[in-house]
Symmetry: D2
Subunit: 358 residues, 4 copies
């Protein structure tokens, strides 16, 4: 007997063809998201990892087999020049972002750009300007290299997003505590987790960044980004206090929120550990029943879901190149403050920067 | 210019063709695992979700589109009869497992069976016997319905696996604290998380199960499975103490272990919160850098990785039907003890059960 | 110049003269409480540690100097026979409680009796009967020796008090996991914390007690008392769930409560860590500002405050001898259940015990 | 029969007569410590709360009855002029410390001075100079008023003591977030915990202080002192990282240490929650068995024990007036930095302050 197989429905909408440039740790996370988002979220078009670019022919071939890319190339320009590609996903090293993003934007592609946006505020300004009439998106919005750029950029972005306000001035200090470190391994690799070579490299950037920040709402913040905090494996931690209460989050427990309700009776006050897996929480309804936590890569899947929906709607999701540029300007202000004896330093804006009133 | 696309390598090994029966919450988790395991683990063959079976033609078609199944059918027998199918993945309601598994085994398929293995110890014994000359596997090994079967089965399995020993006698109490509950929704649905109908259903099974257990090593255990623990969203918690220390785990913090080293100096003793994301931890090396946690569905991906590797090696991974049968016998012994005033009751074995010496 | 010293006021009420029998670890805690309670609580009479009894003349003299007792004796009968003594505080080993308490009651003294109340239910019944027309109090209400009596008694008492209900039946299991243990040291000593002798003693009692309990409200409880839980230094932990929420407490964090409000919005639910130092919490207003925690000995100071106030009012505070007798009967029922294959066993009452309906 | 009372031994050493000036919240804590220290620690002399001074005759009489002081006076000069007084314990408001301490030092008394040492660095320098040929001690070493002085002073002191190093330069920012606050109540009162008047007072000092600090070892620290952290009832929290590991402490869990051992195997690393009640921990052996926590006032009892022992030995315990002066100079440097746009500012030393090299 022939099984009465019903073929899976072919959705009317054409797939969203993605060309990815670079295939290291971020390539593993991004490709998983491109493969998974439409399995859990209703998306207007189905992403398709159509083309993967990398410098080494063998390396990119192995990565494509691993990640499920349909085709490969050793020239990133092929991704830009392929008219069937809708989205360019830039996962290559930071020094290449400026050139690739400008070319992709000029070719009319949607762009998803890993952090850092570029090597300098100037490059970022050029990219943001190029993106302005168009609809571009990127995941993380910052250039960086040391603890400030790699770690601080995340928490600056998060602090501004959660408080819906911008940092307008900073007083900062950078330091390099450990002058050499284990070599970081191949950034173009396939997601290898650790260094096994025993080699050490000279540290040319900060490994501790401390700064105070003033937001445009008048709020004060205290920031610390460091590679020196023993035992804090991935402690991107934030705590925000206001008149109604406080909320705290630690990435090491990424399914939890600590919430303090200042309006509760005095004898019942305290931080509540909320397992943020109820369907009321953003994105949670698409996943598992209450109490079944998500992992790191879900953040990328959510990003893809947001991006594909925005492409379908023609809207402009956050974070934008403009927001990324602002984060980069905060980082630059911290560096400038450090160079000026940690004096309060205004963050550059498109309008002429005025005096900082404190 | 024509891009110099390099096609992704076509591995020599034929794909491992999977036929899945049922497509509810477990179908969502299993299909994600079949799609993802070979992206992160080196597997001898690449799983392919070839055929999905369900009773409703529209339902199974929608699920296949969502899950990425190549074809669908409304007759589960088609999965068994299709000679190209290597693995039968049984995700349908528990009452159907016995018939489907026996048919799949008779047809020479590899079998992955969701819990419960069957409705009764007798059915399970028949299934285990059918599987004995062959290589079969299943994820969860238990029949059940109330708190004992749904929740207790997990922790019985975990306790036996972690201690590498078997429960040989129990003293148990079952109770039904709440006589009606919100209706559970469509078990064949697409992973919806909650009940929205407002309807209530009669509870015919236990919602609290308390039992003490004696392992064949002489160890005593205290078990509690309940739907009545307010605020414990998914607290499958276990703590094991031995002469060298203790270890504790709570599924609500599934990336953490609490480890106590009794050999540490007295002034330094305490439970250590280990973020189990270092590459030293099982499965962790395949995923993200240290400090980047995993989520619920990774457990299914790991199961698929184990299963496909074992099929490649011709080995017999744990958990087996035999182990599942033992868990089901423990559950039956708890029920028998409850019916006998909670008296200590031996767990059935293949050998004639002797007297329980305490 | 002579300082214009104003003498401290002499309160009109006569002091409450306390005679303490025994001076080990409990003597240190009790004497601190007798000295401190009136410094923080408004009490109708001021306690005075008038007389300390112990078998060794040197030992009791050293203890009196340490504890601030005004006089000493080597005969406990002197405490009973001294007409100026108002309260007899029994801190001697458990085997002596029955005789001392009966004598003190017969002499018309107020009695504070450390746990265990007596060696047997029979002795306890006699003591409770002797106390019935009178006003007697005691701190802990149980006889015991192994993990069940030493540890389980605390949590039985706590569970009944917090739920305002009585345990009416139990199914229990006792075991002795470790047959020898380090010698416990001199129970009549001066509060030494550890064993340094290296000697081991035969364990003649249980070191693990597991039991399920049914309360007279129909509630089920699961209890575990063990000396075998590595890393749990003093984890008297309790968790109570009801329709409105849950509350949990762990003695290792004795200034904290974990509170779960089931009526909170789903997305905000979770256990709240309440630092129970607000003045709204019992006894807290007498101590330090919010956030300044209390220690172990404060429990004894609170006991003295309650006792002295009740003596002033002529009222009968909890825990009473009657309540202690009930705890002892629960312990006896657990032992009887263990001896009967862990079958459910009713707890004795003054009324003829009926059948246990489950 | 006459009881064969043995009188408590009369120690050969004369008592250590203490005169306390002020009787508010700190008076409650200090007097408890003077009464209790010799009950738990072997001290060369027994403290005796001989004389209590306060401005209100009724107030000081009530306090003396409560605290157990033998006599009272409304003139603090009486304490200084009484030749039988060995130790002057200054618990009066900060503005009076300079005058009282100088007088007590001139009269040859031992001095225990609550924080703040004085109102200004200049006053503190004078007091430290007066104490230099002599043996003086004080509990907390700082002047202050706002969040910086009240809260920051504690953590500056703790950070310097734990790291055995001095802060040599700071970059700081002060802010006043809330311009009015509930009136703080009577600082000379009897330990009342809260404000019940409903009145509000103008805030003239900072309620947030953020600063970075450089220690003379080259170590960088990030400090935050604020009254604005909702839900942090008394979170004096410190975390120190070094090459061998890290240690963290939070005063809200004052019996616990979090310890990270960077030398542990990678898969076993994590913060260990150490219940610091083992006899190996400082002071712990004098108190209760393992797992029985201490409270806030024990810190004062330990201070008295240290002080009385040092008086017996003729030694000079930490913290000294000299150390207090240094803390006050750090506070002054934070204020100076804030006034200079948060620029790095050196902490004054007795030696001429050189340039800060960063």
């Amino acid at each position: 007997m022939t099984p009465s197989h019903t073929p899976a429905p072919d959705p009317a909408a054409p797939p969203l063809r993605v060309g990815m440039i670079g295939y290291g740790f971020m390539g593993a996370a991004h490709s998983h998201a491109w493969r998974s988002a439409h399995r859990f979220f209703d998306l207007p078009r189905t992403p398709q990892l159509a083309l993967l670019a990398g410098r080494s022919a063998e390396g990119v071939a192995a990565a494509a087999a691993r990640y499920g890319a349909e085709a490969t190339t050793t020239r990133w320009q092929d991704v830009i020049e392929d008219p069937s590609i809708d989205v360019v996903d830039i996962c290559s090293p930071g020094g290449t972002h400026h050139e690739i993003a400008l070319a992709a934007l000029a070719a009319g592609k949607h762009v998803l750009c890993e952090k850092p946006l570029a090597n300098s505020v100037e490059e970022s300004e050029e990219m943001a300007a190029a993106a302005a009439p168009m609809t571009w998106r990127l995941r993380k919005e910052t250039a960086g290299s040391g603890a400030l750029g790699d770690i601080g950029a995340h928490v600056i972005d998060l602090a501004q997003w959660l408080t819906d306000s911008d940092i307008e001035a900073v007083s900062g200090t950078l330091a390099t505590v450990v002058p050499t470190r284990p070599a970081a391994g191949d950034a173009q690799g396939l997601g290898g987790k650790g260094d096994t070579s025993g080699e050490r490299e000279q540290v040319t950037v900060d490994d501790v960044a401390l700064f105070s920040a003033r937001f445009d709402t008048g709020v004060l913040g205290s920031f610390e980004a460091t590679r020196m905090a023993q035992g804090r494996k991935n402690a991107m931690r934030i705590e925000i206090s206001g008149s109604a209460g406080a909320i705290a989050f630690d990435f090491e427990r990424l399914n939890e929120l600590e919430v303090y309700d200042a309006t509760a009776p005095a004898g019942r006050q305290g931080f509540t550990r909320v397992l943020a897996t109820e369907p009321e929480h953003p994105y949670a309804a698409a996943w598992w029943p209450t109490g079944h936590g998500l992992g790191y890569e879900h953040t990328f899947t959510h990003q893809v879901a947001d991006l594909v929906r925005a492409i379908g709607e023609g809207s402009d999701p956050s974070p934008s190149f403009e927001e990324a540029l602002h984060v980069q300007r905060v980082l630059a202000a911290v560096e400038a403050s450090d160079a000026d004896g940690s004096r309060w330093t205004p963050v550059a804006t498109d309008a002429p920067a005025g005096e900082v009133n404190r």
